[in-house]
Assembly symmetry: C2
Homo-oligomer: 234 residues x 2
Amino acid sequence: MWHVEAEGLIAHDVLAVVLRMAPSSPEVLLWQRAREPHSGRWALPGGRLGATEDVEVSVRRHLAEKVDLGEVAHVEQLSVFSDPHRGPAPRRVATAFLGLVPSDADPAVPADTAWHPVDALPETAFDHGEITRDGLERLRAKLSYTNIGFALAPEVFSISELRRLYAAALGHRVSATNLQRVLTRRGVLVPTGTTAAPGPSGGRPAALFRFSERRLRVTDPFATLRPPEGARDC
Amino acid sequence: MWHVEAEGLIAHDVLAVVLRMAPSSPEVLLWQRAREPHSGRWALPGGRLGATEDVEVSVRRHLAEKVDLGEVAHVEQLSVFSDPHRGPAPRRVATAFLGLVPSDADPAVPADTAWHPVDALPETAFDHGEITRDGLERLRAKLSYTNIGFALAPEVFSISELRRLYAAALGHRVSATNLQRVLTRRGVLVPTGTTAAPGPSGGRPAALFRFSERRLRVTDPFATLRPPEGARDC
DNA sequence: CGAGGTTTTCGCCTGTTGGTCGAAAACACG
DNA sequence: CGTGTTTTCGACCAACAGGCGAAAACCTCG
């Protein structure tokens, strides 16, 4: 260790806020640190940025150590955390990502790793609690104007299930009627034609749907300032 | 220089895409490199992340070398650019920011620095062209669902001027009628009660407005999935 | 000082979107 | 075959945005 900071060289980490919707609340994937600093506290998956990878490749590599990557339906960059005092020296800068796991997936995880409800986090390492809340906030915002729900839902699902997922993520009730109409009109939801078996207590069998696309797309953003009728440049 | 990359230590830069709306198109602030690599090409303002600052403090510090910070009305983080081949070795990771300068500001800039129209960039250094386009894209998106226009407009302005700014940023015509109504209803625009002097060729004097708040705020995001009437959690 | 030109502002109409409610449909069970 | 349960659908309404054209307020020039 020499004058590394005088050299302006800094350790760069990547971190992932991996969320999954439990029946009525969001959960985040955390692992318990066994070494100092912050031994015993719970941390986000992640690690050092490697010499030959960009941050997204890196976060996927580190994530693969904690969870089956095939179960992670979506990954996107959140932001950089670089407060010089965000952890004990030496200084570290981290690029945080948001990862989403469908509600029907239950990937195997190592012994030190577990899901924790976001609204009742255990003692977290460094600023990982704050980063987690940032991740949930991003998810909430994007649920309104993108098709990002595809990453929370199973391949096929009923409107009731989807309603439950949206309600869990957003933290407030969601109207099934409205959800179906809006998402259908936007073209993100398509009926499969099949129906699910009714629950144990009866009830009309639910029609099953799927997302038309399983990649992130912003659904027609705000109407305001939309290009005028003839979509001509000015 | 030792095995720095084996150490996982990486040079971290900050960069700023500073945009200003010329009469009919967006311009970005660039400076011409005088040294290798990429000598002669045009680059975004920025530099090394310092040991005692976070990325936002850092980008403001570097920006101050190229332009009067008092004229920059808004700064926000864009994203991290970390492709191992985004520039010649040694490897560099950069956090990019978006900065906005009101149309009536004309800050003094150094001799090597100038405004360039975004749709006709000169030969840019590294990936700075791509980063610039990312910045403009972010601005366009946020114009629709935030009050970010405050950072493009003078303190007080007429609807016509504002219409021009929005049209320049968005790249398509904008209806003055609609712009005024929508922004007023959202509460981001408030009339000052004063009027501007008519132009040289006459015409009705324009009423002057100001933004109700000169800090970024998201104006009621999508109606979809808005909490139901009684804004109660679930 | 009035006519014609210019720019801004305002009102009206229309189409779309989202929120709400309640009835109807489709199932299980006794 | 009624009752309870769950899902689905239609109808209504309020809010919002886009478009248009008339009216308002100013100029200059004859």
